[in-house]
């Protein structure tokens, strides 16, 4: 695993380091998009954060139960979903970059791709839920599944909401409401979508991997 890692890692790090010195319109601004969404984002992150810590500390008291139940999770689908969401987020970044250069058509296409990835996430997640529910697992099976299902369903609903928001942004982009100068709406939707991604980035290792 180490050899290809270096191959990726070097150009990637280089790109990142270059990037931070590139942008000069820096450091005095508010977060991108409408600030109202950021209040929402910070609040949602707080709710998820408390839930994550509740999971972690409850696990500390029930290590055997959590480790045993964790084995029944489908780690592949969790990992694939992580990749799906990351990629979807990346597409949204490209959509925003496109509209910033005034390329409306590309913006629409990248957004559509991002939403499609969201749909893929939903499909995989539904398959995962279906498997669990048909195995008779519910919120009340044990504490681990209570957390697993609450966290993933809560996140799942955020994915749906995020797709709804992106769909709305797509619709407006398609109608030509955004331009290189005026694209706060895209930034707002994008910020929310990245939050959904960010939450999953913590959730996946915490619930599926750490043992």
């Amino acid at each position: 695993m180490a050899a290809p890692a270096v191959g990726f890692f070097l150009p990637a790090t280089q790109a990142i380091m270059n990037a931070s010195t590139l942008d000069k319109d820096v450091n005095s601004a508010m977060p991108p998009g409408d600030f109202a969404i950021w209040i929402f984002i910070y609040a949602e992150l707080l709710a998820f954060g408390i839930f994550f810590l509740a999971y972690a500390f409850t696990r500390a008291h029930n290590v055997e139960l959590f480790n045993a139940s964790q084995l029944s999770l489908n780690r592949e689908s969790g990992a694939i979903n992580t990749l799906v969401l990351i990629t979807s987020s990346y597409f949204v970044v490209r959509a925003l970059a496109a509209i910033k250069r005034g390329r409306q058509v590309f913006c629409v296409r990248w957004l559509a791709a991002a939403i499609a990835m969201g749909g893929l996430f939903v499909a995989i997640k539904l398959a995962e839920f279906h498997a669990k529910f048909s195995a008779g697992i519910s919120l009340h099976t044990n504490t681990f599944y209570m957390f697993y299902l609450s966290l993933t369903i809560f996140h799942f609903m955020h994915v749906l909401l995020g797709m709804l928001i992106l769909g709305f942004v797509l619709f407006k982009a398609h109608r030509g409401h955004y331009s290189a100068e005026q694209h706060a709406g895209v930034e707002t939707g994008a910020s929310y979508w990245h939050m959904v991604d960010l939450v999953w980035i913590i959730l996946f290792p915490l619930v599926y991997v750490i043992r």
Partner: protein
Amino acid sequence: MQYKSQAVAKPYFIAAIGLFTGQILFGLIMGLQYVVGDFLFPEIPFNVARMVHTNLLIVWLLFGFMGSAYYLVPEESETELFSPKLAQVLFWIFLLAGAATVLGYLLVPYATLARMTGNNILATMGREFLEQPLPTKVGIVIVALAFLFNITMTVLKGRKTSITLVLLIGLWGLAVFFLFSFYNPSNLVLDKYFWWWVVHLWVEGVWELILGALLAFVLIKVTGVDREVIEKWLYVIIAMSLITGLIGTGHHYYWIGTPESWLWFGSVFSALEPIPFFMMTVFAFNMVNRRRREHPNKAATLWALGTGVMSFLGAGVWGFLHTLAPVNYYTHGTQITAAHGHMAFYGAYVMVVITMISYAMPVLRGRAANSERAQVLEMWSFWIMTVSIVFITLFLTAAGILQVWLQRISATPMGFMATQDQISLFYWLREISGVFFLVGLVLYIASFFIKGGKTVSA
């Protein structure tokens, strides 16, 4: 007063203050019964006094909300009320129904009252805060719907502002969730589960919208800050209230037979419930600091700021104290709950109604603000009532902590009544604070009758 029909608010405000006084008197009776158990027994048993105390609170707050809406909506919508006549008729219906209900509680044994009022047809009585006989409950629905019709029609024919929109959503929610009071299954767990859909979704849900709208209205008036700014924050605050408060209902679903998962949902989300209240405090102070005018009504500004602070303390801090399931396991159903209830109701809803009255009443009486002497007295009453409620809360909290310790945590737990004897000192202190509160209230009422000094004309 910009619109003639706003005048219908006046009797509502007067009735509200009158019933408020009744509520406090019965509160003092109950407080005394806590330490002198047979006081007024068997004429007014504790449960009767408590029904009157809590139902008067609900009814006078509803009077306050309705009066506030009648005052606020025409001014915001920039049009006369759809039907001032209807508002006047509803006032008398509601007042008479309320008075008849209270007299029923006081004069007839509760079981007889239940039989007389058709409780056997549809049993809804005998549940905390929903003790009203069936005709009263139906009456509340009818009055509420007629009131909502009046208000909604006014908004529809006039200017639509965010404040009226939020107020309307809050008031409609109030009416809709009250409908759950007619659902009383024989399964106690289900009964309790949906009982909270009235109680919690009122006070930690839709009432917060009403609170936010009223506060925003007064802040616009007394600070002159741009409406855009205030309405924006109004939306953010009430969004936070519902985001945290809806699932936050779970903090009532710990020990009533509902599944364990609620221990987590309730704890996580209700732990966030202080956020909107904190934002409200910051918001109120911010707006007053950024004020563009010096409004002559200093008292109203003081009440508005007080609402921000006291609702945060009472609902936010005192709620958080015992909202987490592991804490609530020990504090559930003790004087801690009573402490929180008193400060939260006073800080949020009592104070916002008084804020509204304090701002609107002088205008209704033909001046922008009361004379300085009247205002000084009103501000005295503010401090006396507020400090009294703080002490009531502190003493009840102390009583609660001791109660939890003796009755629930101690290795050799004491019985309920033995514990009560141990904490009677705090009940005495609470009762004394209650007397001070009454003094504050009397001064508040007196401030309406103070003449002289220079008055500012409207």
